[in-house]
């Protein structure tokens, strides 16, 4: 919201550009964009050196960023707009996305485990399956408040960092600080693994690790 209003203000203050200037700016930006693509390829090459799937993963990441930016997809806005402005277009899109992903994930599961899913316990299912509990409730509440205040969820913050929002760079720094702070309560809150002997050391990734 604040971005939009400041954007309008800036536009009225901005000096009118001549068509030549605009064309020059366009050429500079597009060639820089090609340069960024080359940079992504270099990083993919470097990743490939130490991880057999590295290049592919970097490219998928870049594609995710491209799609997020091109379609202005924002999970925070999808959850916020019904309450803030009453708009539900993005919310519907998120539902479509979840529906398509559910279908595809189940297809992957069926391909891995057979149509009757008889090996469901043995094979790792696609997607993230984690314990639910009070920690989910508390974490989701905090996350929702933070995402709306800072104007970007996890993916949205990363996307806006690429778009050149200084605010999101600052958010990102404190996101990381918050993550380090957040690992201290997390193993106590989440009953991740079956109860272990009390000698086991608590670890934030999975609650308890020997």
């Amino acid at each position: 919201m604040a971005e939009i209003s400041s954007g309008i203000k800036r536009r009225s203050r901005r000096v009118r550009e001549t068509p030549e200037q605009r064309k020059r700016k366009k050429i500079i930006q597009i060639s820089t964009g090609v340069g960024v693509f080359a940079l992504i390829c270099v990083i993919a090459y470097l990743a490939q050196q130490s991880n057999p799937k590295g290049a592919f993963i970097v490219m998928i990441g870049a594609a995710l960023g491209y799609v997020l930016q091109r379609s202005r997809f924002c999970f925070t806005a999808a959850l916020r707009d019904p309450a803030l402005t009453g708009g539900t277009n993005l919310t519907k899109a998120v539902i479509v996305s979840l529906a398509v992903a559910s279908f595809l994930f189940m297809a992957v599961n069926m391909a891995n485990m057979g149509l009757s899913l008889e090996n469901f316990e043995q094979v790792k299912a696609a997607g993230k399956i984690k314990p639910v509990g009070f920690h989910t409730v508390l974490g989701a509440l905090l996350f929702g408040i933070g995402a709306v205040i800072s104007g970007g969820c996890a993916s949205g913050t990363l996307m806006r960092m690429g778009e050149g929002f200084q605010q999101q760079w600052l958010t990102f720094v404190f996101f990381i600080i918050g993550s380090v702070v957040g690992i201290f309560p997390s193993p106590r809150l989440s009953p991740a693994k079956p109860r272990q002997p009390s000698s086991c050391q608590r670890h934030w990734e999975d609650g308890c690790r020997q």
Binding site: A62, L142, F143, G144, I149, G162, G164, A192, Q201
Partner: protein, 179 residues
Amino acid sequence: MSEENKPKVDYWEWLFKREWSYTTGAVLLAVLATVLVVVTGIAWGVTGPFAYWGGKALTLIGIDANSWEIFHGSLDKYGFFDGKYSVPSMTNLGIVLGALMSVLLAASFRIKKIKSGRQVAAAILGGLLMGIGARVAMGCNIGAFFSAIPAFSLHGWVFMVFIAIGAFIGSLMLKKWFM
């Protein structure tokens, strides 16, 4: 319509400038997330490596975070390109660069400056809350929502309900203090 009367198609405009519909983005995101799962076996997540990045940064400034009981020596094992959290690390970098590339190719890149102290406060508070919330809930809006609900995991649904409530509280706070 004859050939001359046809409006000239600006291919650049068509390929890079025009914004996609939300639904296009939604379907493509679902497909990309599935491809990532199929190839790596690990679902798309964002915030998993953030605690490690913080720990690494602490190590850089001279605090021995690796010896903390909570990291349990796992900080040394973390690698950006290989290891347990390498997939989200690499996709995170890819998302930033992919978004940058997308804006640049559309020739609409501009540094959006921070305008007021309120934006600084919003960024600091929002970032901290998101970081803590993501770790406490064991995932962010991607890991505990976008990769969890399609996996038919209950924690994704609980996360969705309470992130919506949190977003509503956040909107009230945003209206009251940060706008």
